[in-house]
């Protein structure tokens, strides 16, 4: 039906993404004082472009079923490899830019196939990744472009959740409110560079989005189901709490200023608490879709999720208390949660192979 690539050929792209995740997390730990030899300055680009960009780009390429779309995750995955192997400028940023541009093209292709608010929101997320990465390639610091990268992930997740909210009774008002929140986020984003007022508005819009998601996401119903369906809902709802917290932290601080306690707290509430909770919830669906493997649900899936949330709470308490040791402990717990998550996923795949589970 398509000129898609076979599932086994996608595996190297996922390996690239997870190598970037491992080194990106190690780089984060270096910032917290662990001497792991990872490039501390590359923590953000490795996590955002080389991991999230590659995984989400791969997911979109599978949805599209077109070979050219895989150039996106290939390029963003190679940007991580370029960072890790010490290949100098301009390669890491140039590859990430190519990856984000192909991802934008894939997202626009999907928008052309289905013109809807949710596909437009997905395309907007892709555009934000591209713009942020373009600024980074142009020499801006990570802290100057990080709001664009946050918007990439927020719009991507929000678009997907809006799509699934169609399973619930339609509410034109809810759809209008969603569009207004997206417009506020976008407006704030465009003038956010260096403007604390715009950054504060961005934080306020994130809180509004979290409230919208709490009220309209199908998770508020599916949390009453069981097994994987309930697990996904728990991931989503707990992630929305961190989305609200991250937005509120930006509002309370009056912006996103690097080097402040609220900077670490807001960014990690959003990118760890919110985004990784989504990743944890959807990995058991996305791994099978991408790799054609079975990832049967197990109750142990809750363990990395609980560790993620608990360790993030410790880290953020350390941020606001000015207690570096506490922040460091929380950060180590964050890394352990991600490692545990990978182990649990791999364990589920391996045991499914040895003990077939009904699909």
């Amino acid at each position: 039906m398509t000129n898609d690539i076979p599932a086994p050929w996608r595996a190297p792209l996922l390996v690239l993404a997870f190598v970037s995740l491992a080194v990106g997390v190690a780089a984060g730990l270096v910032r917290l004082g662990w001497n792991l030899g990872a490039p501390a300055a590359a923590h953000g680009p490795l996590m955002i472009s080389s991991f999230f960009g590659t995984v989400i780009g791969l997911e979109r390429a599978v949805a599209l079923g077109r070979r050219w779309a895989y150039i996106g995750p290939l390029a963003s995955g190679l940007s991580g490899l370029a960072i890790i192997t010490g290949v100098g400028a301009p390669w890491p940023a140039a590859l990430a830019t190519v990856g984000s541009l192909v991802f934008l093209a894939a997202s626009l292709d999907i928008l052309a196939r289905q013109k809807a608010l949710f596909t437009a929101t997905l395309a907007l997320g892709a555009a934000c990744w591209f713009v942020g990465t373009l600024y980074w390639a142009g020499g801006r610091e990570v802290w100057q472009v990080v709001v664009w990268w946050i918007a990439f992930l927020v719009f991507t997740i929000a678009g997907e959740r809006l799509e699934l909210s169609r399973f619930l009774p339609a509410s034109p008002m809810a759809k209008g409110l969603f569009a207004a929140i997206v417009a506020l986020l976008l407006g704030a984003l465009i003038v956010a560079g260096g403007s604390p007022i715009a950054q504060t508005a961005f934080g306020g819009a994130l809180v509004a989005l979290a409230l919208w998601l709490f009220g309209n996401d199908i998770a508020r119903r599916t949390v009453r189901e069981s097994g994987l369906t309930r697990f996904i809902a728990v991931c989503l709802l707990s992630g929305y709490a961190w989305l609200a917290f991250g937005g509120a932290a930006i509002v309370a601080a009056g912006g996103v200023a690097p080097g402040t306690p609220s900077y670490d707290a807001a960014l990690h509430a959003l990118l760890l608490g919110f985004v990784f909770a989504m990743v944890f919830g959807h990995a058991p669906i996305i791994f099978p879709a991408v790799l054609n493997v079975s990832v049967p649900w197990r109750p142990i899936f809750y363990l990395p999720l609980a560790l993620l949330h608990a360790s993030l709470a410790v880290r953020i308490a350390g941020d606001y208390a000015g207690d570096f040791a506490l922040r460091r402990t929380g950060g180590f717990g964050n890394a352990a949660a991600l490692a545990l998550f990978v182990l649990v996923m791999v364990g589920s795949i391996v045991t499914a192979r040895s003990r077939p589970v009904r699909g």
Partner: protein, 139 residues
Amino acid sequence: MAKPHSLADRLRGFFSPRETKAAADAALRGGDAVSGASGPAPTEAAVRDALRTVLDPEVGIDIVELGLVYRVATAPGTVRVDMTMTTPACPSGPQLRDQAAQALRAALSGAPSIEVRLVWDPPWNPAMMSPAAKRRLGW
């Protein structure tokens, strides 16, 4: 021995979609078909019942109740199903299609030729859900 493809041919093949209906049907037959003894045609109800074992993991409701199964055609030795996803942005389409084909193979002994196609026309909308699914989702 067939002549190996040139690099240019391979690149052309990589970048250009080869999505003719005949090719798609042939690929589907190659991928999903199970040949075997042809007996009486399975009933549509039997086919739909088999497809009810395929759940959307996010919603916890089966693909029939969600209105994702558009068409079931049966004939002696053949079952053909057209199904959709809620959006082409969903990466789970090929996987759910394969699960649907597996469910049919498992349920319809006598192993007719089974084809499950992903189609996008008409686009799915919530009105396609069954009354039971809607009730479960708070409609």
